[in-house]
Amino acid sequence: MSDALASLGRFLPELLLMGALAVVIVADLATQAWSLARSRNLLVGLTLAGLGAAFVASLGEPGGGSLFASMIADDGLLGVLRPLFALTAIFTLLFSLRAKELDGARMGEMVALLLTVTAALMWMAGSVNLVMIYLSLETVSVASYIMVGYRSSDRLSNEASLKYILFGAVSTGVMLFGLSLLYGLTGTLDLYGVRAALAAEDAGPALILVLLLVAGGIGFKIAAVPFHFWCPDVYTGASTPVTAFLSVGPKAAGFAVLIRFFYSGIAQPGADGTFAAVGGVDWQGLIIVLAVVTMTLGNVAALLQTNMKRLLAYSSIAHAGTILIGAAALSSEGIGAIVTYLVIYLFMNLGAFLVVILVHRVTGTFELEGYAGFWKRSPLLTVAMGIFLFSLMGIPPFAGFFAKLYVFAAAVEAELGWLAVVGVLNSAVAAFYYIKVLRIMAVDPGDGELPALRFSRLDGALLLALVTPNVVGILFGGALEQISEIAQRLLDLA
Amino acid sequence: MITRFRQVEMRLMGPLTAIPIVLATVVLVTIAALPFVSAVLSEWIRDAVPAGLQHAVAVTLGTVGFVAVLALNPIYAIWLERKVAAHVQDRLGPMRVGWHGLLQSFADGVKLLFKEDLVPKDADRVLFRLAPMVAIAGAFAAFVVIPWGVRADGAVLAVSNLNIGVLYFIAITSIGALSVLMAGWGSNNKYALYGGMRAAAQMVSYEIPTAILVLVVVAQVGSLSLPEIVAAQAGGFLGISNWLVFQLFPLNLIAFVLFFICGLAETNRTPFDIPEAESELVAGFHTEYSGMRFAFFFLAEYGNMLLISMLAALLFLGGWVGPVGSNPLLLFAKAFGLVVVQMWLRWTLPRLRVDQLMAVCWKYVIPISFFLLVVVAVLKSIL
C-alpha cells in the first residue's frame, strides 16, 4: 500500500489526465442542454487544460526505478514519450476543431476518449509487466476503435471501425496466447523476471513461437507488414484528426512496448551499450525481416495510391519499417535513434495531416486530384506541405533527415550496413510519391478560377507550431542528442 | 344435474384434501428436524456405505431432498398466489377442488401432464425443447449452494457448501436470461422474441445492482460464504437485533428493500413483468408453450421466487437464526413470508413501462447501490 502511495507522486501526468477525464464526463452531462458550440468550447477548453497540465508535469528528468510494484518503469524512455503523447493529443484536439468531418458533432465522448487514450499510451510506454503490457495495449485499442467509429452515422467510419476491432481483437488475442506461453516458460509475469529465467535456461523453439505470436500484437500496433491490413482502411474511414493521432500516438507506444519486450525481456545488456539475445533464440533476424518487408511494401503500395489519406497510411507503414531498423541494431544507440525518430515523426506527420484537414475543408475531398493548383490558391499552404513532405522524405536540412540519419547510423554501427542501404534505397522510392503530391499541388493547373484560401488564426498557429521544428531541425541537433541520451541513459534495464 | 355432480365431487375430494395437508406437515416437520435427521443420516452413511461412495451418496440424498421441496413448492405457491390474488380482489379464489381449493394445483398439474405437447411448425425445434430445461436447471442449480441451517456439530446443511456461495448464486442466475432468449427465439413468434429480449435485457440489467447489494453485505461480514454471513447475524436482543437489516440503520434497510426490488425484477414479477405483459405481448417468451414445457417455466418461476426470498432472508434477515434459536424452519418461514409479499405486490401494483423499468435500474437503483456500498465500506473501515 505504501508503495502505491509513494508511486502516486511520480504518476502525476496520468493522474492529471484521469482527473480531467472525470471533469470532462461530468461537464458533458451538465451541459447537455447547452448549444453545441458553447458546450464544445467548454469541453475543449477543459481538455486542453488537462492535457497541457499533463504535458508540463511530464517534462523533466524521470526518477528512475519502477512504480506500483514493478508495473511501470519510470525511466528515460517513458520520460521522453510522456510529453510526446500529451503533445500529440493536444494537436489532435486542436485539429478536431478544424476538421470538416467533425463539424456539428458532440465532443463529449471524443475528448473523454482522447484523455483516456493518452493516459493509456503512457501506461503502455512504461509497462514492464506482461499484465500491464496487455491491459494498456487493450485500453489504447478499445479507445481507438471507438474513436475510429466516432461518426456513427457514416458508413465508412463504421466499416473501418469494424475491420479495426476484428483485426485488433485477433492480433491481441494471438499476442495474449503468446504471453500466456511465455508466462508458463518463465513462471513470472515480470519482464525482468522473464529475462532472468530465460538467461538461466534456454527455451528453444517454444520461445520462437512466443516471439511470433507477440510480434502479431506489437506489429498490429505499429502497423508493420504483415499485420498492416487494417491500416489504410482505418486511416481512410476515421475522421482525419483521429487518423493523425493513430499514425503517431499508438505507433510510438507500440515501439516503446517493442523496446521493452525485446530489450528488457528477452535480451541482456552488454558492456558497451549493445544487447545480446537470451533464451537461445536470435530474434534479430525476425526484426530485420519485419523491417525490410514493412519498408518495401509500404513504399511500393504508396506509389499506387490516388487518395491522400491512403497514401499517408502506406507512408506511415513505410516509416514504421524504417524505425524497425533502429530496433534491429540491438544497441542503446538504436533505442535513442528510435525515440528521436518518433519525436520528429510527430511534427512531420501531424503537419502533413494538418494540411490534409485544411485542404479537405475547402475542397471536401481526400483524392489527389483535389490538390491540383493549390499553389495559386495558397502558396503558404503549399510551401508548408512541401516542408512536411521533404521532411518525411528525409531531405536535409529538414528534421526528417536527422531522424533517418540516426537510425541508419545505429544500423551501420551494429554492422548492419546493408540494412541501412536498403533503408536509403527505400527513401529514394518514397521520394517518388511525396514529390508526386507536391507536383500536383504546385505544378498541375487547378480547374478554373478558385478563390484564395483564408486561414483562421488557429490554422496559422498550428502550421507555425508544426513547421518550425521541421525547419530548424538542424538547430535542434543538440536537443535531439539530449533526448536520445536521456532515453538511453535512463532506460531502466535493472 | 350440476348439484348432483358437485355432490359426487365433494364426496370424492373430501378425503383427498388430506393429502396436501399431510404432505405439507410431513415436509415442514422434516425441515424442522433437519439438523437431527441429517446427523442420523450421515452417521448411517459413514457406517453402511463403502468409503468411495460416501460423498456421492450424501450429495444424492441432499439433491433428492431439495428437489422434492422445489417440486412441491409451486403446488402450494400457486394455490397461495391464487388465494392472495382473490382476496386482494375481494373474491374467494379456488374453492371447488378440495377444502378451500387445496387440490386445485394438483388438478391443474394433472391437466398439464396430459395436454398435447405442441411445437409450432416453424419453430427452432432444438432451442424450443431445450429452453424449459435450461430454465429449470438454472433455477434448481442455484439452490445447491443455499444452506438451510447448521447441525449441532457445526456442519452446514447444504448440498454444496461453497466458499464463494454468493458469487456462484449470482453467476448461475444469469443462466435464466439465456433460457428466456432461447425460448423467445426458438418459438419463432414475434411476441415471444420481443418478450424474450426484454426479459433478458431486464435480467442482465438488474443483475448489476443485485451483485452490488450482495457486496454491501459481503463488505460488512467479510465473507462470500453464506453460512458465515448467517453466523455473523446470530445472537443479540431477542435473537433478532443482530440481523443485518437492523444494522447501520437505515443503510441496510435500504439495501434490503432494493435487493428485494431487484429480486422481483430478476424473476420478472409484477411490477416488473414487462416480458410477459399480457396486454402487450400475449404471454411473452412462453407464448407458444403448453403442457409440461409450460409447466417447467412455471416451476422455474416459482423456484426463482423462493430462491430470491431465501437469499434475501439469508443475507439480511438472519437466515435460520432468530428469536427461537437456530432452526431451518425459521429460514422457510422468512422466505415464505417474502414470497407472500411478492404476491401481494403483484396484485396491488400496476406494471411499469419498459423505459421506466430501465430508468429505475440505471438511474436510481444502481447509483444508490453504489452509494450504499461506498458508505458501508467507509463506515466499516472507520468503526
Partner: protein
C-alpha cells in the same frame, strides 16, 4: 491428477479451432465468437501455469483481467456491428467492402 500437458493440449486445440473459425467465418458476430475462443484458450493456459509453474496467483489475476477486457471488447464490437447494421442492413464481412484493404 490431471497432468499439465493435458490442459495445454486442450487449450491448444481450442486456440486452433478459434483460428480456423476466424479464417473461415464471414459473419462479424461469428468472428467475435471465435475471438472469444482464443481468449479462453489463453486463459486456460494462464490458470494452468499459475497452478503448476508459478505456484502463485499472478496468472489468475491476469485471467480475471482478460475476462474484463473481453467483455469491453465484445461490448464495443457489438455496438459497432449494430451501428453498421443500421446503415447497411447486413453484417457480412465480404459485403462490407466499400473500403478495399
Amino acid at each position: 491428477m490431471i497432468p499439465l500437458e493435458h490442459y495445454l493440449i486442450v487449450s491448444a486445440a481450442l486456440f486452433s479451432v478459434g483460428v480456423f473459425g476466424i479464417l473461415t467465418r464471414r459473419n462479424a458476430v461469428n468472428v467475435l465468437m471465435c475471438i472469444e475462443l482464443i481468449f479462453n484458450s489463453a486463459n486456460i493456459n494462464l490458470v494452468a501455469f499459475s497452478r503448476f509453474i508459478e505456484g502463485a496467483l499472478g496468472g489468475q489475476v491476469f485471467a480475471l483481467l482478460v475476462i474484463v477486457v473481453a467483455a469491453c471488447e465484445a461490448a464495443v464490437a457489438l455496438a459497432i456491428v449494430m451501428s453498421l447494421y443500421r446503415i447497411t442492413k447486413q453484417v457480412n464481412l465480404d459485403k462490407a467492402a466499400e473500403l478495399k484493404g
